[in-house]
Amino acid sequence: MALVLELLCALALLVLAVLAIALGRFSSASRIVYAVSLLVTAAGFAVAVVSLVAMPASLTLPFGLPWLGAHFRLDALAAFFLAVVNFGGAAASLYAIGYGQHEAVPGRVLPFFPAFLAGMTLVVLADDAFAFLLAWEFMSLMSWALVMAHHRDSENVRAGYIYLVMAGFGTLCLLLAFGLLAGPEGGYVFAAMRSHHLPSTLAALVLILTLLGAGSKAGLVPLHVWLPLAHPAAPSHVSALMSGVMTKVAIYAFIRITFDLLGPPDWWWSVVVLALGSATAVLGVLHALMERDLKRLLAYSTVENVGIIFIGLGLALAFRANGLAAAAALALTAALLHVLNHMVFKSLLFFGAGAVQVATGARNIEQLGGLIHRMKVTSAAFLVGAMAIAALPPFNGFVSEWLTFQAVLLSPQVSEWGLKLMVPTAGTMLALAAALAGACFVRAFGMSFLGRPRSPAAAEASDVDRFSRAAMVALAVLCLLLGILPGFVIDWLAPVVRSLAHAQMPAQVSVPWWSIVPIAESRSSFNGLLVFGFIAVSASLAILAIHTLASRTIRRAPAWDCGTPVTSPLTQYSAGSFAQPIRRVFGTVLFRARETVSMPLPGDASPARLEVVLHDIPWEAIYVPLAAAVNGTANWLNRLQFMTIRRYLMLVFLTLISLLLVLAIWT
């Protein structure tokens, strides 16, 4: 029943996409389309939440390959990711009811938005390789169309091209992985893959292919290069969907294949996953720290969070390979909780970035500043999102990272030396990434919203429409709720974790005061509700006491600035200067950052210049040579087109001879 409803939702979104093409001419089309997709995704979310605890249901429809049909299945894992997809979709639709009004050519966005949502829904529901890959490609193409919505911008065209290449590469890897999983009998239905286990070399190959295929969509280093280009190029509500939701669909694909279809893991798999996750987390956030484009900064921070999720998944694999079911359940819960949390705060932050772009027309944080005075709601919501993504209590990002740390602390129980060394290193990298995220979001929020306006547009900004504000406030409230009452979500996740790890975390809601206790209270516990309560009470007490007993007068005066205030807003600390200490500490090696200062000669009135050069090492070391090699080969093969007839005949003859030789040797 629930499965049918979810499929109907996907169908409704597809119909809506077709209608949007027809409606595109009317001025109110944008509101109608987003309002309907809000309703549909809200229904889909409700059904997914309820069906998470229900028994798995499956259904075969007579589409697709004639001998196969299209298989769909709704189990706990699919229900969780459906909830994430639909919630993200609903939030984006609500935001877009207002934000979509600013679209210059709505016809380039409206039909693809619901189709993109439908594609993601179908990926999660698919239960055979054919339906999965078809939905996956559909999802990629629809998001590509959205990336190309503003196609006159040459940067967007480049982003779209790189995205298309990477998406094709990812699908190819997944295709090969499913081919190996299906085996020589061609059992393309997931149930058949689940029932037969591959030999360990083939299983390892499937893991590598899955890491390439799903990892390229999720943004694992070094396959992340398309992500910071393509996600910001789309309109902001689509950026939120791509960053907050589509990367989660990729993570779903990884979990589905490695945890569900592939059978028992080898221990060294987890070393690979942990190493990739750690590198992704740290490199992602360092890139974000160097970035000046607000939306691209957020996209890099998505790379970081994907790394954090993969660290959790790697830990779960390590524990599973060692037969530690309870520990695997903890690590998996942490990863899934971070999937949910990241969807919430990353959508919120992208909505904020979109609001800033609408209000000021700028995405470069060097041109913003002082928006907290003019965009009160947006700035407050963005602040909550920034604190949540920096893993600070009492918001939700902290809870999932705390659980990951608790899982790391269980790792002395694993027996392999490789893991014993890898896990603490991954723990350090996680802590480093969290601390760097703090710096990154102080910079992002501080430069955009605080200080004095650095451009006339920032000085005259005003807050956005009420739908956009409503979406942001709702997500900000959710960040707090998930942070102070995570026990309810952890218990809700229990069926998902049980189906994959064969164990679950202890029930949390029944713990007194709604603490979360991963293993035992003597070991570790955290109570966001109490911590939040304590902070709120002691802050109010301090305010009350001081305002009644001491002074409450306020005087306004020019800024003190050590007695030498300079009025030009250009003298403020800029985003570049804020990042300079961290660039010096980490960037000299990781980005080969070089600074050159050119001072004018004495008496010369020209300004001094500071030039900073950063290198994107994965791009320069892998992609540029690869592209050059492809180009070179293509040029070389191009000669095949300009030969005389004699040579063509000779080629045909040689091919024939060699094929005959092959046949002769073969038999």
Binding site: P424, L450, F526, A559
Partner: protein, 316 residues
């Protein structure tokens, strides 16, 4: 049960009332070591009272965040300090936040403080915030590594449990704990902006961090920030005392005399911490800001080494 509440309440009042005293004592000892007479040890209380009575002067473009921040910083730091066992283990609410959460609470306070520093849009605030966050990106991972070492030895990240475990003499002398102790002291120096990382006595040189961030604050807002800084220093001294020299702390459910002993030994530990810090700060010179990464890198490596040793063998 009621005892636990009482201990918790006493702890909250104790840390708040002792924190300025600790700062005063350190200043006094430092002054004597520099052959100055120095202000009285209760001078910080007088300063706070004076600041609270004064008008708060706000810059013209200060936002609501600038006004709210001091109270948030104070509240987060106070809650964190109240959860580190000082004279007795068995705090009523010690389970509401373990050591990782306490560190994260201090992280929240720092986040807000750095934002408040950027709010006015002066270059002093920017330089302070930027450097503070750079130091934090190195100090926080080091701190997490120390937590890992402690948690692997004691089997818990709950400070009360860790303190009980250390008190019972369970671990004995361990290399990993020694490494963690050194790392924790390095982190504590950096986190509190003490010499050689930052100089708490000045804000007029270009190596400043904390004092530059609070330059625009005045009146009651400055008082809140000052008291939060004192609380943070007290927190770190208590943390080192609680984990590495837990002797004298009253375990849960002991009688009144044990609590008196606990309070007495705690006072002695604070005094010892103050003397050591004052000697250290007098003996050493402030380092350039880009030497700080080496300083904290050493702490990070020591913490990682301690953790790795424990992964290699549970008894080292």
């Amino acid at each position: 049960m009621t005892v636990s509440y009482l201990v918790q309440g006493a702890q909250m009042v104790l840390v708040l009332s002792l924190a300025p005293l600790l700062t005063g004592v350190i200043r006094k000892i430092k002054a004597r070591l520099q052959r100055r007479r120095g202000a009285s040890v209760i001078q910080p209380y007088r300063d706070l009272a004076r600041l609270m009575r004064k008008d708060a002067v706000l810059a013209e473009n200060a936002s609501w965040l600038f006004r709210v921040a001091p109270y948030m910083i104070f509240a987060a730091t106070w809650v964190a300090a109240a959860l580190v066992p000082t004279f007795a283990t068995g705090l009523m609410f010690s389970w509401s936040a373990d050591l990782i959460a306490i560190i994260a609470l201090l992280g929240s306070a720092r986040f807000i403080q750095a934002l408040a520093a950027l709010d006015i849009g002066t270059s002093f605030g920017g330089i302070g915030a930027s450097r503070e966050m750079m130091i934090a990106t190195l100090a926080e991972p080091a701190m997490i590594m120390i937590v890992f070492t402690l948690a692997l030895v004691a089997g818990s990240t709950q400070l009360s449990t860790v303190a009980d475990f250390m008190l019972s003499g369970g671990p004995g002398l361990r290399v990993s704990l020694a490494l963690a102790a050194v790392a924790l002291i390095l982190v504590a120096i950096a986190e509190n902006g003490r010499v050689p990382v930052d100089n708490p006595a000045t804000h007029l040189e270009l190596t400043m961090v904390h004092e530059a961030m609070v330059l625009e604050y005045s009146g009651r807002h400055l008082a809140m920030i000052e008291i939060a800084a004192s609380l943070k220093l007290l927190l770190y001294v208590s943390l080192i005392a609680c984990v590495f020299i837990p002797w004298g702390m009253a375990p849960m459910g002991s009688d009144l005399s044990a609590y008196a002993v606990g309070a007495g030994t705690y006072a002695l530990k604070l005094l010892a911490g103050a003397v050591l810090l004052a000697f250290f700060e007098t003996a050493i010179a402030k380092m350039r800001v880009f030497r700080v990464p080496n300083f904290l890198g050493a702490a990070l490596m020591l913490g990682l080494l301690g953790t790795l040793l424990l992964f290699v063998s549970g008894t080292i």
